[in-house]
Symmetry: C2
Subunit: 308 residues, 2 copies
């Protein structure tokens, strides 16, 4: 095989002779498409629980072949990407361990990072130096390989959360892999990642799911939803996300999420009291600070490239 | 003048010789544009507090002339549309009262309806039969006449909340006016309107403003917002709305909004406890019901025509 790095295949010099993707859905499928499009990958092997989905991924040209036996799928792979639910990680680590070849680099795409590192620690007794925990902050409310597209990660952020033991060469490879897919890669502590994502992603999802469920439980739900405007649609779009995936994430990051929820609830109750008391000065102060911060955020980030 | 109805000018037969619009912003400006485009209006007179904004509206061709003196602006008008903040309604009712011509029809576009009817009652001692309270459920987070466009109300809902005293002919005219602009018009009780809008519009706005303000107050706000994905942007888009307008709305509808907030807070605390207790069955139940309801809503409403 060629080395992981060779400067004739892409700007980053990355070339992966054999890539194994465990979980060929929106994220795993989009990554495979992006790496193929950049000619940075030889063979792509898929794995997962559902043979029909894997066959579909092969038919779409996202993967070259597949095996529902995850150990068989990762055999001989140079890079393994775990794109399965965070709740499945410990079992996956155990299953692939004996089948991995020497020098393999393993990464994941889970939305919570402490739980994934903990899963590795439990499965192997330590966090292997060739495992680089990662999280692409990209996605849509749709799922499955049919929703995947090669541009999903363009101009999106990817956070890697290496530990003190992670091998620099492994970090460099995973970083190059995401850069090849068009992403901007940052590194930080897993705790920090989990706090930031609890605030900006997990908390909004919980609020949106809770709101739609609350309104749906009202007797007059049909009339209520009939008069919902575009603001409500945007606000609740994330409540159309996968319940199973987000339940996994909420549990896996329950500590940071509970802290974020408690902080928010405290502020929300104050605002509720200001409204009940007709305290327009207090209400206006909150609304003004929020608009200012939201407008800054948009200035900061520029127009959205995709609906992730 | 021609009568309010003549069957040669539009499908609905509506023709308004002179229309006065008080508050020529996104809503008032878009309504003027829509009625002009349908050739259902003769002269459009604008009024408001800011001469510069009114001159801009005239330059854009949205209005024919303007007067910052609201009494002068409504003199001789056949239809008057009050598109000012709900907090300004009582003062406006007082100001226009003596200047209105016999047979005039007055309507408004306020987001809360009990408060507007109450403002009329306080100003006039009763709710005049020629006043039809209304609310077009349309808008964007942008404001001002420059954001106005003739298609804003196409396929959007407009709710009218007439009282027992409202004249049927006045209701018919206001209904025809909104239908001409492309909207679907419903009638209901003002209490019912305020409850529905508290749930689907005012509550989400409060939640979004509170979330962005909460996150902005955290020390690490810059890092937090830098890692916010598209889901967060959609969820918080409504927090870029006008703080002043939404503060007005929150206070004007504080009773229904407080009730909606309390119901939501109760459910949210239950969900928070389920997350803290790692109760995945309870979490999953909420998330699944929410996704089902959200997906039904989209089926029900079809694709959004504009970002209102």
């Amino acid at each position: 095989m060629r080395g992981l790095f060779s400067n004739d295949m892409s700007d980053s010099g990355l070339f992966i002779e054999r890539l194994a993707i465990i979980g060929v859905g929106l994220i795993g499928g989009s990554l495979a498409r992006a790496l193929r499009q950049a000619n940075t990958v030889g063979e792509v092997v898929g794995s997962g629980r559902n043979a029909e989905h894997l066959q579909r991924a092969q038919t779409l040209g996202v993967i070259d072949r597949w095996d529902t036996d995850v150990a068989a799928a990762v055999a001989g792979a140079d890079v393994v990407v775990l794109a399965a639910p965070v709740s499945a990680m410990e079992e996956l680590f155990r299953a692939i361990g004996p089948a991995l070849k020497t020098g393999v680099i393993v990464t994941d795409v889970g939305s919570t990072k402490r739980s994934v590192l903990e899963a590795a620690r439990v499965a192997y007794g330590h966090i292997p130096g060739n495992f680089v925990a990662g999280h692409p902050i990209a996605g849509t409310e749709r799922t499955g390989v049919d929703a995947s597209f090669s541009q999903l990660f363009r101009q999106r952020r990817v956070i890697l959360t290496p530990t003190a033991e992670t091998l620099p060469a492994a970090i460099a490879t995973v970083k190059a892999l995401w850069q090849t897919a068009g992403a901007q890669v940052s590194e930080m502590d897993a705790d920090r990642h989990d706090e930031i994502l609890a605030a900006t992603s997990h908390l909004p999802h919980v609020l949106a799911f809770a709101l739609v469920d609350h309104l749906a439980a009202l007797d007059d739900r049909h009339e209520i939803f009939a008069f919902a405007a575009g603001g409500f649609r945007d606000f609740t779009r994330i409540a159309s996300s996968s319940p199973e995936m987000w339940c996994d994430i909420a549990c896996a990051n329950r500590e940071a999420l509970t802290t974020a929820l408690d902080g928010y609830l405290q502020d929300l109750v104050l605002l509720r009291d200001a409204i009940a008391n007709n305290d327009s000065a207090a209400i206006l102060a909150v609304f003004r600070r929020a608009k200012q911060a939201r407008d800054r955020l948009i200035d900061l980030a520029g127009p959205a490239v995709n609906p992730a």
